[in-house]
């Protein structure tokens, strides 16, 4: 071993590159420790610290915007160049989505933590999960990927079960935990198979070595590829790994449900993109059709279940959003499946769609959180006449729902759908595009039914007690509505990712 090589055994860490997830994790620890010293009356301080930390992490994305940094690379003597952490454009967009989503969740949680949830634990868990979710898109080896996946998921189980003394919350957490752990175990098995077949954990290396796997290991490699996908499909809540969703969303505190629907989903599809497109491109003929079928099943099952929600059932609003998020996951999978069939870069369509979905879904959850304050049972029926009571909130919710449906005035929702359709057509997946078209119509029915209800005359004009609107929730609604409006006027902001090569 030459002296030069022994020097380079010590990796130099580019701290700025890893700053966004690191800062989030550090703030999480700070909040946990500070919880011990902050007097009961000033626990809100912790919440604002968390919000500030997430905002700072978002700001730290700005110096990285060139998208050409990476760190934790293999040292020179190993003859291969592969890095474990890469901050390319893909990473940055997903980190923007994840951290932004966590920030909005934090805004929604500020009032909940004051009233119902234990502040210190809540903020620690939320920030840890966000740190894991922000690390995930940057990971470029399977070990980091699985670690990030677990860092993102484990705190989420606790978050779901955080409603003290609520039986449903505990049950939801257990359901979520058991099914998630099973999926992770399967993923780990898959990862070990892939490692055994290729002898490396770095995604780009796997991509090269999978091409010439020795004949007797072929089956092992294929099984490994399939099993690895299962864990991420679970996180995305793709059918048939979706059964935990409605109960978990209903049982969890509302902001946590919002968090799971956006950030949890982002974790899933980011992992799927990394393993499929980056690590296993040579097995496209295996995962391409599988993902296409999965996408079709997911959107259909989600939409049909959402359609069957009775508007008078308790928590039907959250249940509807839960099923609709399953359906939306189906749309997110379409471009990933298309990537298997087409040489063009299709992943951008998923990213653009996810950005739109994150904004409007968090917006919808924010309005739901607002209404939940005066109607704790949160039935869809409770939204009747919302326009008469608070016009701004009703208009915002109508805008968000029509975006999810993909109809004007929700222009960004429409164009995000157009991008996804376009990737399917481009890849020659005509049948999938037709199934998606039918699903769009089914989805319109329940979104529009809810929207129409907002503008009905309220039943029984009894003078309701006016609830004070908390500032953080208003801020969250205003932020998401403004983002949705800007994107509708200038969709290029989100859709530019659909054409640029992100990796």
């Amino acid at each position: 071993m030459t002296p030069v090589a022994s020097e380079s055994l010590v990796q130099s860490v580019d701290w700025l590159t890893i700053a966004p997830p690191t800062l989030t994790a550090v703030v999480a620890l700070v909040v946990l420790v500070a919880d011990l010293f902050v007097p009961e009356g000033r626990k809100q301080l912790l919440g604002w610290t968390a919000v500030g930390g997430l905002a700072a992490a978002l700001v730290l994305l700005v110096p990285l915007r060139d998208g050409n940094r990476s760190t934790f690379c293999l040292t020179a003597d190993t003859q291969v160049t592969a890095c474990s952490y890469t901050a390319d454009h893909f990473t940055l967009v997903i980190q923007l989505l994840v951290l932004g989503g966590a920030l909005l969740t934090a805004l929604l949680s500020l009032t909940e933590t004051r009233e119902k949830l234990p502040a210190g634990e809540f903020w620690f868990l939320l920030l840890s999960s966000a740190a894991g979710a922000a690390l995930l898109p940057a990971s470029r080896d399977l070990a980091t990927l699985v670690v990030a996946l677990e860092v993102a998921s484990l705190p989420a189980f606790a978050l779901v079960g955080l409603k003290r003394g609520d039986r449903m919350s505990g049950e939801a957490a257990l359901k979520f935990f058991l099914s998630s752990v099973t999926a992770t175990a399967v993923t780990l098995l898959g990862v070990s198979f892939v490692y055994a077949a290729t002898g490396t954990l770095h995604l780009t290396e796997i991509a090269q070595r999978l091409d010439d796997v020795p004949g007797q290991l072929q089956t092992l490699a294929e099984a490994g590829v399939a099993l690895t996908l299962v864990g991420f499909a679970f996180k995305t809540a793709a059918v048939p790994f979706h059964f935990w969703v409605p109960d978990t969303y209903v049982g969890a505190p509302l902001p946590v449900a919002a968090y799971l629907s956006v950030v949890g989903k982002a974790v899933g599809f980011t992992g799927l993109i990394l393993v499929t497109v980056v690590a296993f491109p040579s097995y496209a003929d295996v995962w391409g059709p599988a993902l296409a079928v999965l996408a079709a099943l997911t959107m259909t099952a989600g939409n049909v279940a959402a359609l069957r929600q009775l508007s008078t059932r308790a928590w039907s609003a959250v249940r509807l959003l839960a099923w609709s998020s399953v359906a939306q996951a189906g749309y997110l999978l379409v471009p990933i499946a298309a990537a298997a069939y087409s040489s063009d870069d299709q992943i951008g369509a998923t990213v653009a769609y996810a950005l739109m979905y994150a904004v409007v879904n968090l917006g919808a959850f924010a309005v739901v959180a607002l209404v939940a304050r005066s109607h704790p049972r949160n039935r869809i029926e409770d939204y009747r006449g919302l326009y008469a009571a608070s016009p701004a909130a009703a208009l915002a919710l109508a805008f968000f729902l029509l975006n999810l449906a993909g109809l004007p005035p929700g222009i960004i929702g429409l164009f995000a759908k157009v991008t996804v359709f376009s990737s399917a057509v481009d890849a020659g997946l005509g049948w999938l595009a037709v199934i998606m078209a039918v699903n769009v119509v089914i989805a319109l029915y329940y979104y529009l039914r809810w929207t129409a209800l907002l503008f009905r005359t309220p039943e029984g004009a009894a003078g309701k007690v006016r609830h004070r609107t908390p500032v953080p929730i208003t801020l969250a609604i205003v932020l998401t509505a403004a983002a949705g409006a800007v994107l509708s006027g200038y969709p290029q902001f989100a859709l530019r990712f659909a054409t640029d090569s992100l990796f």
Partner: protein, 525 residues
């Protein structure tokens, strides 16, 4: 006719598309001081009249400034990049095909706003009504003005939500179900259409309609064209509506408020046929040639089906609703338009475009009149209206009766009125279809279509006899009001234009013919 600089023309066209949207946003805000009027409701209705009036004025000035010597050239064009990622451009322009439809839309919307100012349909506050009306106007005008496929789809979708709410909130009996049927049907059609549009865009590498039309399908293989025509055709056929995809229309018309019906028949249906002419004929001619005979067959089936349905509704004892009857007559009339398009000849397509405009004028007028009758009698049920001998409108409200008879004979295609030329030209085109289309088949269609005109005359005359004529009325019956001042104001322009278009068809054909020639030839100037 008058010389207006290109930049002013550009501004006018942009104003026509964007103006109503701004107006809709303004309608939701509280009225500024000085414009409050007598009450908030009156102020917002007046706002609607003002905005649609300004748009109509802009459309008329645009029509005057339009270079009538070159109607085949796209004029007042704006072309700015909007969404680079999807290669979507804000590309606006008018030629001889879109100009009449733009003016018709602006006119009908203005008349509807004027009519509602005096006769607001029963329902919630007029604020939402005016805002939705204006969004609807913007969507339809945009459909006729845009020259980008994705933008066309966006405009096509824009009218869905306003129309849904207009029917569901201000409609009559059965409005919820009718509104759902309308929106789900049309949306299913238009998503399928989107797939076809994307297929064209992906395969040809551009969404620009002018570039694609100039290309005339040379950049697309026949199989791509066939799939694209099938997908886009279904979307447009639902909107038009083509038999057998029409079943949403009668319900929607019956339930919609008067102005909703007028706009639905007068303007929204034209979006479908316009799409056929603007997109399918020039961009995918090979695919269109494959489907033209089937389209023509469905079209004549629609003509016969619509007429027979109307005849059944008009018969005594069948409890026929007048609005539903006119809705079915629209299916028949749009059948003629589709037949004209399916011939793929300049004659046929010109006839289709003429029939389009004529149908907008005449059926718009008919729905206004039936709405007025329904307001007076409280029902549009033909049997209740007619009683034993007939409603005797000639005796009770002579002017209303005369107008109804006028509209009915215009609708059945009396020579000298607007309805005649379009249907005649469509049949004439079908007599000698484009090269490559089976002449015997089209001769059969011509014969069936001609028979359809007879059936049309039969049911319309039956309606006139049962509504306008009748025995002496019993003594002591409550008198009904004849045509009011505001009704005259709203209807006179339609009557005048029906006569004008009937007596001087060149004013329309002179605009459309050169543009159609160019579209069919594929951009050879």
């Amino acid at each position: 006719m008058i010389d207006i600089s290109e930049s002013v023309m550009q501004f006018l066209l942009a104003l026509i598309v964007v103006g109503p949207l701004l107006g809709a946003a303004a309608a939701l805000l509280p009225a500024p001081p000085g414009l409050r009027g007598k009450s908030p409701d009156q102020a917002v209705l007046r706002h609607g009249v003002t905005v649609t009036g300004v748009i109509l004025l802009a459309a008329i000035v645009l029509a005057l400034g339009f270079d009538h010597d070159q109607p085949s050239r796209m004029q007042a064009t704006t072309d700015i990049s909007w969404i680079h990622a999807l290669d979507v451009r804000i590309h606006l322009g008018v030629d001889g095909i879109s100009l009449p439809l733009l003016v018709l839309t602006a006119l009908l919307t203005f008349l509807c706003a004027l009519y509602s100012y005096f006769k607001m349909p029963a329902g919630p506050s007029p604020k939402g009504f005016v805002a939705l009306l204006l969004v609807l106007e913007s969507g339809t005008l945009a459909t006729f003005a845009v020259l980008d496929l994705v933008l066309f789809f966006l405009a096509f979708e824009m009218v869905l939500i306003p129309m849904y709410f207009l029917i569901a909130r201000w409609g009559g009996e059965g409005r919820q179900a009718a509104a759902w049927k309308f929106i789900l049907y049309t949306l299913l059609g238009s998503v399928v259409m989107l797939l076809g549009l994307l297929l064209i865009g992906v395969k040809a590498g551009t969404f620009d309609m002018v570039a694609l039309a100039t290309d005339n399908g040379r950049g697309l293989t026949t199989s791509v064209q066939v799939i694209a025509v099938l997908a886009i055709g279904i979307g447009l056929a639902v909107k038009t509506p083509m038999w057998p995809l029409h079943s949403w229309l009668p319900d929607a018309h019956t339930a919609a408020p008067t102005v909703g019906s007028v706009l639905l028949a007068g303007v929204l249906l034209k979006m479908g046929t316009y799409g056929f002419v603007r997109i399918l004929l020039p961009i995918t001619p090979d695919g269109m040639r494959v489907f033209a005979p089937y389209l023509a067959a469905f079209a004549v089936a629609g003509i016969i089906y619509g007429s027979l349905a109307c005849l059944a509704l008009a018969r005594p004892g069948n409890k026929g609703d007048l609005k539903r009857l006119i809705a079915y007559s629209s299916v028949g009339h749009m059948g003629f338009v589709l037949l004209g398009i399916a011939t793929m000849t300049p004659t046929g397509v010109n006839g289709a475009l003429f029939a389009n405009v004529a149908h907008g004028l005449v059926t718009g007028l008919l729905f206004f009149l039936v709405g007025a009758i329904k307001d007076r009698y409280g029902t549009a049920d033909l049997d209740t209206l007619a009683g034993a001998t007939g409603a005797a409108l000639y005796g009770r409200a002579p002017r209303l009766g005369a107008l109804l008879a006028f509209a009915a004979v215009a609708s059945l295609g009396l020579p000298g009125l607007a309805g005649f030329w379009g249907e005649m030209l469509a049949l004439f085109g079908a007599f000698e279809p484009a090269e490559g289309l089976s002449r015997p088949a089209f001769l059969t269609f011509t014969a069936i279509g001609a028979f359809g005109t007879l059936l049309t005359a039969a049911y319309l005359l039956l309606v006139v006899r049962r509504v306008c004529m009748g025995g002496p009325r019993p003594v002591g019956e409550t008198p009904i009001a004849d045509v009011q001042g505001y009704e005259f104001a709203a209807w006179t322009p339609l009557v005048a234009l029906t006569v004008l278009a009937g007596l001087w068809p060149a004013v329309l054909l002179g605009l459309t013919d050169p543009a159609v020639q160019q579209l069919l030839a594929g951009g050879t100037r």
